[in-house]
């Protein structure tokens, strides 16, 4: 495919877009993993999840 | 109404005793004006052209950076608590404080503008026009900054962060303030159009700023 004289700009635009979108996806996934790990940590230390302690939230 | 008058008088008094009044603002602008020829070179025509812009930028920065103490100090010493037990609407109380702030930092600048215009090689008419735009526009800066001040109270954060949060909001004021000044100085546009918009912006800012600040304070008390 011929992108003409300005090919570097087009390629850079698509490249950067890919990178930014990739970074967003990576951020979301890594963050998810970190939060799950923190929750597991707390559970190991005996702090129970709110949803497992039903009576409290009726107030 | 006497309650609000008392608040206004107290704040003006505090500003004069503690801050030395508008002195710091005026001095800052003197320095800016002295400095500009060094930055640009002794091109008087150019100096006159960008003079209003520089004055406006300086006014903007000075307002925003001093404003975050306006409410924060009242919070730190417990005055804000007591103000909430007062019988005047919080909106009006907050507006009275903003007015006092403008009187002690914005107004001195307006008064000094004709003098500074002299340094910038402006004739008297043009100087008056620039002063007029500042008179019409600086209240908007104060009231926009008020939003930042209220947020900084509720967040217990101050400094540059709050300036950063509200600065984008001041862009339109700056544009029309400078546009009106330039219209008066060099034309070719009529002075009236941007000046009317500037006044409208100020009115909007006063209303929006007052309500947003009061809302922020109400939601942020502890």
């Amino acid at each position: 495919m011929n992108l003409g004289p300005h090919a570097p700009f087009i390629v850079a635009a698509y490249g950067i877009a890919t990178f930014v979108i990739g970074a967003l996806i990576a951020w979301v996934m890594l963050d998810h993993r970190a939060q799950l790990r923190a929750l597991d940590d707390l559970e190991l230390r005996g702090v129970t999840r709110r949803s497992d302690r039903a009576p409290e939230k009726t107030a | 109404m006497t309650a609000l008058a008392a608040l206004f008088v107290r704040d003006v008094r505090l500003a004069i005793r503690v801050g030395g009044g508008g002195g710091i603002g005026v001095l800052f602008f003197l320095i800016v004006v002295t400095l500009m020829p060094f930055a640009i070179g002794p091109d008087l025509a150019l100096l006159g052209r960008i003079g209003p812009a520089i004055l406006w930028l300086g006014a903007l920065l000075a307002s925003l950076l001093t404003l975050d103490r306006l409410l924060a100090m009242d919070q730190e010493d417990g005055s804000l608590d007591l103000m909430l037990t007062g019988r005047s609407p919080l909106e009006l109380a907050v507006a009275a404080k903003a007015l006092a702030h403008w009187l002690t930092t914005g107004l001195p600048l307006v008064i000094a503008a004709p003098l500074l215009g002299l340094f910038l090689n402006l004739d008297l008419g043009s100087s008056g026009a620039v002063a007029l735009t500042l008179l019409a526009g600086t209240p908007a800066l104060t009231f926009i900054g008020l939003i930042g001040a209220a947020l900084s109270v509720t967040l217990r954060r101050g400094g540059l962060l709050l300036a950063v949060l509200v600065m984008p909001l001041t862009v339109p004021v700056l544009i029309f303030g400078v546009a009106a000044s330039n219209a008066a100085l060099v034309g070719p546009l009529p002075f009236g159009t941007p000046f009317t918009i500037l006044c409208a912006l100020t009115l909007i800012s006063i209303v929006v700023g007052t309500f947003a600040a009061a809302t922020a304070l109400r939601h942020g008390m502890e």
């Binding site: 992108l3 300005h6 230390r45 709110r50 | 909001l169």
Partner: protein
């Protein structure tokens, strides 16, 4: 109190877990279709192949503004209706919105170099988008520096509402400024003059971008809910730990 009452969010979490894989799949399909159409699009007679940049530039621009509008609605949800998920939605949307606005800025710059001969010009549209980007950063900084989400949420909501005034300004400042300085190069392609051979790939890419945003937003909201759960558990632990009295 959003942090205390996470009853609805629990249900939301379950929904998110179920919906995310579907949404991701759909997004992938849409991108495949959109990129395929893009490859087939003809070059513009004036701009040559650089018109291909438009297929990411314009959807990013629209999303950048649209996400702030979404945050504005969420802000109303926080302040007026006190919906527990409203500030979660607002907080999760901000980084995504900032990223798309950045993409708009960068691709615009890359387009501007061959078209205008400069990466950056102080044109109204460019500057106002930069201001939008700065406001995104401001809101993110606000969220990041305040540790109590309820407090930060209300403050960010007020800032978002006030900042929404900026959206119409972004739109209309073009007109104010055009009269002063800017050559009309931005507007040359705009309007109904767009040929369907370019319009259809553009719409396809826009659909793909919107789906991508929905997926990212849902995932980020899920993360935020989990983060708050971690925080409130840590708080509870500090409170019930032995020796907290004297």
């Amino acid at each position: 109190m959003p942090i205390i009452d996470l009853a609805n969010p629990t249900r939301f979490l379950r929904f998110a877990e179920r919906a995310l894989p579907w949404l991701a799949g759909l997004t992938l399909l849409a991108f495949a279709a959109g990129l395929n159409l893009t490859l087939g699009a003809p070059d513009d007679y004036q701009q040559g192949a650089t018109v291909k940049i438009m297929f990411i530039h314009v959807p990013s621009a629209w999303l950048g503004m649209g996400i702030w509008a979404l945050m504005t609605i969420a802000a109303l949800g926080t302040l007026v209706w006190r919906h527990p998920l409203a500030d979660v939605a607002a907080k999760a949307a901000a980084p995504v919105g900032a990223a798309f606005t950045l993409l708009c800025l960068v691709t615009g710059s890359l387009w501007g170099r061959p078209m205008w001969g400069a990466y950056w010009v102080w044109d109204a549209r460019l500057t106002s988008v930069l201001v939008l980007f700065l406001m995104y950063l401001g809101v993110m900084a606000l969220w990041r520096t305040v540790d109590d989400p309820a407090r930060a949420g209300r403050a960010a909501a007020i800032l978002t509402l006030v900042g929404a005034i900026n959206l119409p300004i972004i739109k209309f400042s073009v007109d104010w400024w055009n009269t002063l300085h800017q050559p009309a190069s931005v507007l040359r392609l705009a309007g109904p003059s767009i040929h369907p051979s370019i319009l259809i790939p553009l719409l396809a890419m826009t659909l793909a971008f919107v789906l991508l945003f929905l997926a990212l937003h849902l995932a980020a909201m899920r993360n935020e809910i989990l983060r708050r759960r971690v925080r409130s558990l840590m708080m509870m632990q500090a409170q019930t730990a032995p020796g907290s009295g004297s």
